[in-house]
Amino acid sequence: MKSLRRFFNRVVNVVTRRAQEERLREEIEEHIALQTAENLRAGLSPGEARSQAMLKFGGVEALKQDYRAERGLLLIENLLADLRTATRTISRMPGLAAVIIVSLAIGIGVNTTIFSWIQLILFEPMPAVSGAANFLLVEPRREMGGYPGASWLEYRDLQTQIPALHDIVASQMVPFNVGERGQTERTHGQLVSGNYFSALDLKPAIGRFIRPEEAERPGTEPVVVISYDYWQTRFRGAPEAVGQKLRVNDSDLIVIGVAPREFQGTMIPLKFELWVPATMGPALLGRALYLEDRSSRGFSLIGMLSPGATREEAQAEFSTAMAQLARDYPEASAGISAEIHPFWKTPRGPQRWLISGLAILQGVMLLLQLAVCGNTANLMLARGSTRQREMAVRVALGAGRWRIVSLVLSENMLLAFLGAGLGAALAVWGTTALRLAPMIGAFPILFPTRVDAFTLAFAMLLGVGCGLIFSAPPAVHLARLDPQEGLRSSSNTSPRSRARKVLMGVEVGLAMVVLIAAALFLESFRSARQTDPRFRPEGVLLAAYDLSGRNPDEASEREFAARLLERLRSLPDVEAAAIATNVPLDLHGIEARPFTVQGRVRTEPGQDRAISNTVTPGYFKVMAIPLLEGNDFADMRDKAAPAQAIVNEEFVRRYLDGANAIGRRIQTRAGSFLIIGVARNSVYDAFGEPVQPAVYFSYRDISEDQGEIHLRTRSGNETALAAEARAVLRDLDPMLPLYDVRTFSQHIERNLYLRRIPARMFAVLGPLLLGLAAIGIYAVVSYAVTRRTREIGLRLAFGATSRRVVLQIIRENLGAIAWGMAIGWVLALLISVRAITKGPVNLPVFIGVPALLLSVATLACWIPARRASRIDPMAALRHE
């Protein structure tokens, strides 16, 4: 209690320091005056009386120290003093401070943004669901690979057979067509088990959630829970939304509730809008046996460990259960094993490639941050050299080693914190920008990343770490300073110049790697804009349809496509129309399928593969890909012709050694096809890809329930076709929406978007890094030069020309730089050949970037060297 009060008073005193000091002064004066009066009464002379009084009082300065120590918190007061000094020092070097803070901020900002993604996936994989990261994935696995999901009956069995997991939840992603006849919209939702919302422990925004009994008997409870966003956009957030009907796949569902604001389903980053009891599946999907058929897999299962249970137990129980199911239902469950995964290790969806990509990106960015730290350390060291004298004075006046270290630390930490603060602000902007980035595609994707306390803590931690790293060298250096040495001269030998040079070399090397990577990215991005795709995207409209909700058979699929094409071709502005399963330059790429072709024997192990696309007749006309030999596919309604295939030039060159392809047979998993034509090569996956072999199959032979409509306009105004195409589809099937309508040019732009993000990042980071490297070199050289003023002066005095001096300084420093550059160059070359282009080396980049870096480095050496060589020899020699 007593010490608490004392502490509190001390804290108050720290604040009211001045008043207290004044009080002590007054008290001392009064004391001495009284003693003097007393001495006078005792008969001393006035002068003697006062000096006796002062003698008796004792040392005033020592007392003041004691008093101060007693009064306040020495530590905090020192810290405040340090901070004040630090603020003053920093404000005296605004340029340098700005460089340091901004470079730190950019590094921390980028790192924090990436971290917020990783954090989202690892720790908060389901927004609005607390403890979502603790969910485990319950995944049946096929012997030959692949995770097909569970069937509904299997789910019901597993629910009771894995006691180590309680409340297993099942969900399946389904595209729905929502709306009245003639104006339907494609919306993604999940078919869910009855315990879905209760197991996730969610509270509805309004209304209620699906009850367990509503997912018991098939088809009885036509209810739907909608997402918050859907509620806002479709019902304008009106509370009356609950109880209203929603027309989904031509059935009426009653809206019973709205999910919490952030909730977007159980498959991040996919964003779902509707949740329907799984028992509505047969009615909505038009598949009567959907819930009874054990081979109809597709449900994703997740569950949390029961209290006290371990993952190993869950795995063991799951394996036992699957083995039993395989015995009971061999035709549906044989050869299917069991795997339990942590939630972030999902074997499907975009998350899988994301997490490793993000980890690499984070690693690279942390390296960059390290380079920034090294640079800052160099700058601070160089600055520290000019402050040796100041520090020496401080030490001589009695400052302890720790006071010096804490002074240096507080300066650097202040810089680090300013950098971290600005970095966090950048991260807020970055995550917002990324969240709003249009991730359009076949599926609705939303990354609900945001900067929360955890992310902020990461930014601050990074700031503190950086601060510690770059304050260590100058702090150690200055604390070791011998005050006598420091006061006597500033031209002593530098013990740390080697470390500084190594640091400089490493930094230049890092700069080399990142700059080359940046240049390659930008180069590929630029060339992507200029490359001829070898088909003509201008004037083509793309749109997708999906019959999967109808569960059609092959004949009706074929018939639908044929009728659709007939109607589309009759439109006056349509020059040509076709349907294909794949669109070139798609984000997801086009699958390369294995095959064997007549007349080729593969000698090496493995299988021949070729890009494969299934198209209707007329496709080559729409795409403006000329057929070099042979003919287009037979008509959709032609029943007589054999199954057909068209290959491209590269296929002929690579697999048939340029021999005649027409008339040969090609065998795939889907059957045997007769090659009837050879098409010109074109671009399939990406601009700048090496030429790939490709096979086209006919829709007539391999029917599909979904397709991408390709329309070539006569007038050149393809956007105008969208409304007409919609009308045609509506006529054919009023419940079927036309979705993902875009021009081919838009399609390409959109898919370049993902490449544009790193391209932009590198476009910003590249020059920044170049600037950083230049500043770092400049700092080191100008530091070294200042320390050698006397030597340079001597040389000049003895007749060296300033030209020679400059050359020598540049030569000395370029040594370390050249090493760093060489290592960086080789590294970049390896990375480029192995990972990025996989093709021929981009010579302009690999020569241009080193040339640029070298000239910048030389310039950064030249400026301080030149300044040094211009000094007056006499002044230099007099210079302490």
Partner: protein, 115 residues
């Protein structure tokens, strides 16, 4: 060295409390004089050391201070004992007497008493 000042400070604090208890509110010089009179040469030099002690006691709440006029009509800081200070004085006097008695007995003890 440090030990000695600590002991000095401790005893000085007790002396300040006792002085204020007996004489009522006093300024720093008055306290110093009084202690000097009674303790002889303890405060003959370095009277200034009194002030950190006064501050410590004030921060602990044992004494309070306010500005007043001294004998020669100058502004002076007067210290007085608070209720808590009186309590502290009582317990510390007790402690002191107890310690003194124990130490006293210890010094009086002869070899045969300890065997």
């Amino acid at each position: 060295m440090k030990q000695k000042t600590d002991v000095l400070q401790g005893t000085l604090a007790l002396m300040v409390l006792k002085t204020l208890d007996v004489l009522g509110p006093l300024h720093g010089y008055g306290i110093a004089r009084r202690i000097e009179q009674i303790s002889g040469d303890l405060l003959a030099v370095n009277q200034g050391t009194l002030y950190p002690v006064l501050l410590k006691l004030e921060q602990e709440g044992a004494i309070a201070s306010e500005w007043g006029a001294s004998e020669n009509n100058r502004r002076a800081r007067f210290y007085r004992l608070t209720r808590q200070g009186r309590k502290q004085l009582r317990t510390e006097t007790q402690d002191w007497e107890q310690t003194a008695a124990i130490i006293g007995r210890f010094f009086d003890a002869k070899a045969e008493d300890l065997s």
